[in-house]
Amino acid sequence: MKTLIKKVATAALSAALAASISVTAQAEEKIKVGFVYVGPVGDAGWTYGHDEGRKEMLHKLGDKVEATYVESVPEGADAERVIRKLAQQGHDLIFTTSFGYMNPTLKVAKQFPKVKFNHATGYKRSKNVGTYAARFYEGRYVTGLIAGEMTKSNVIGYVGSFPIPEVVQGINAFTLGLRETNPDAVVKVVWINSWYDPAKEREAAEALIAQGADIINQHTDSPAPVQAAQDKGVLAFGYDTDMSRFGPDAHLSGSLVHWGDYYTDVAESVLNDSWTAKDIWGGIDSGMVKMAPYNKKIPADVVTAAEKARADIATGSLTIFEGPITAQDGSVKVAGGVKLTDGEILSMNWYVEGVEGELPQ
């Protein structure tokens, strides 16, 4: 027993010693930051956005940081191996950028208590695992305001991926914006059950255009819906990154995500030793959500109104999910003056008035 205590004490002592050494080393040397990506860095969507954030962090912090990334890492057992390898290689801070990395991240984090982890779009945290995500829906509300002014047929087509709260939030926020400027307009949603299938995304956009939609919005990752809109002579909103090059005439704007500031802040917090496991859900106010450039087709007063809404969202004087909000069936879902909590937004499984069709449950 005595020897065991002695052994534990020695181990603890050496661990503490090692920790203090690494702390001093950190203060003098640069930190190593690792990124795990689910797609290739050139996917023109999700992973591309994260990699732009990584580059911005490198640019802002200069030689204080060093960054490595591993791309196209499948979610699951392979992810755990990659994350563990990054931790073993002495990375001080690791970003795992896809929902499916949640459990592998927590597992590896347990084995490397000194390494800081931040996991995107997850909901499980621990002492050294923080989470982060973006309030895409804020940007989608702004695109809705524009859509209401630009539609002639009063039918907007929406290419959806999976009927999960993240996507439903976007549809509802978009529809609220749309009906704010055009109470007669409706949104038709088509689910393709995939995040990334260019051909299917295009077919869905074409099916919607055939049914009278003159603006296409999307919550899928490829620019195929924007291309379809361009070919058919209708309008579109992109997503994730600026997709205007895929449809210069069609692309009106889009809700973009911008990780650069967040990555820089987190790396700085590790540099000055103030990192804690936080849950960040950033929107327009934090600069995490931005708008793609507005197409010249949009009249100046519409752009002004959209920019005003964007500014009001940033200052907090405009809250998107604030009552009165009418549900699809006409009943009052949120009473006047009541704001939905983050928890309620994160579990959203109902449509607002103006969305057509039934939400698959």
Partner: protein, 308 residues
């Protein structure tokens, strides 16, 4: 459903059926000669990526289409070397080709992801394009759709009326007897395999140059497999390949159209329709043992040893 919507749906059906038609035509010729190539998905992806890279670099779409076909042929030569030359197991070789093609296309295409390209544009055929309904559906498509239909007609005529067509069928049915008759079994099989490769490459190039003019890793999304099941669905009949390709195309469009119309059928269920249809056909075909023997080339998938 008004007439305009029906026209739009039928137009989309022909378009989305075209890559399936091309790939299935290639495979049906290959299988009629007795060779089963499961590498369609890999050959398609190589065709898609090569076609895109060449078109993007040269700005010439026709060159991209040819390069896509060439890439498909190159992949099929690899398959032929293993399955015909070394008499490796065709199923295993085909599967390996699919995995290899998926990986290699992702590797060579990395720098081209997210690059915009003006794709192949529609070509209205004078006079015919003005026919109501039929005009917009069949004669306002892009040139590759017309080419696909011409290839279909050529393959049908080939098997129906030509001596070489009969030769391919004879070799697929009984390579030993064909050898005894002095028919060049291996040469014919090589040509059939390469034709299959060219068609798969063309089908892939159709996706990356006409249907959705962009390159994305794994962009065929299982269409090579649908084309394979289409061959069984068509029970190796050329005419039925067209019927099947359009039916499969329609099924993949309809589940999107019906959602837009507010039908509350699960979109997951509707998306399974092409596969359900194939299973039903397989069940019907195999309910009668002699019927399936009549349909499938007898030597399908069996390596050929000239000595035995």
């Amino acid at each position: 459903m008004d007439i305009e919507l029906i026209t739009n749906v039928l137009f989309a059906m022909v378009r989305s059926g075209t890559p399936l038609l091309l790939v299935a035509l290639g495979e049906v010729v290959c299988e009629k000669s007795g060779v089963l190539n499961l590498g369609q998905e890999g050959m398609m992806l190589m065709g898609a990526v090569t076609g895109f890279i060449v078109s993007f670099s040269t700005g010439n779409l026709a060159l991209g289409v040819i390069a896509g076909m060439a890439a498909g042929i190159a992949m099929s030569v690899l398959f032929g070397a293993l399955a015909l030359g070394l008499r490796a197991n065709q199923v295993a070789t085909g599967l390996a080709l699919t995995i290899f093609g998926a990986g290699l296309s992702a590797f060579v295409g990395t720098a081209y992801v997210g690059k915009p390209l003006t794709g192949i544009e529609a070509l209205h055929i004078p006079l015919l394009a003005d026919i109501p309904v039929l005009g917009p559906v069949l004669f306002q498509q892009d040139p590759l759709v017309y080419i696909a239909l011409m290839i279909l007609a050529a393959v049908w005529l080939f098997f129906r009326f030509s001596r070489p067509g009969l030769m391919v069928k004879a070799i697929g049915e009984n390579p030993e007897s064909a050898t005894a008759l002095g028919l060049p079994v291996l040469t014919v099989r090589w040509l059939a395999v390469m034709f299959g490769g060219a068609m798969a490459g063309l089908g892939g190039a159709y996706l990356s140059l006409a249907y959705t003019p962009l390159w994305a890793e794994g962009m065929t999304a299982g269409r090579g497999w649908i084309a394979l099941s289409l061959v069984v669905f068509a029970s190796w009949r050329i005419g039925r390949v067209l019927l099947g390709a359009w039916l499969f195309g329609l099924a993949s469009i309809m589940h999107l159209v019906l959602q837009g119309m507010g039908w509350s059928i699960s979109s997951n269920l509707l998306a399974t329709l092409p596969y359900l249809a194939t299973i039903v056909v397989l069940v019907i075909l195999s309910s009668n043992a002699s019927r399936i023997r009549m349909m499938a080339p007898v030597s399908l998938g069996k390596p050929f040893h000239p000595s035995t």
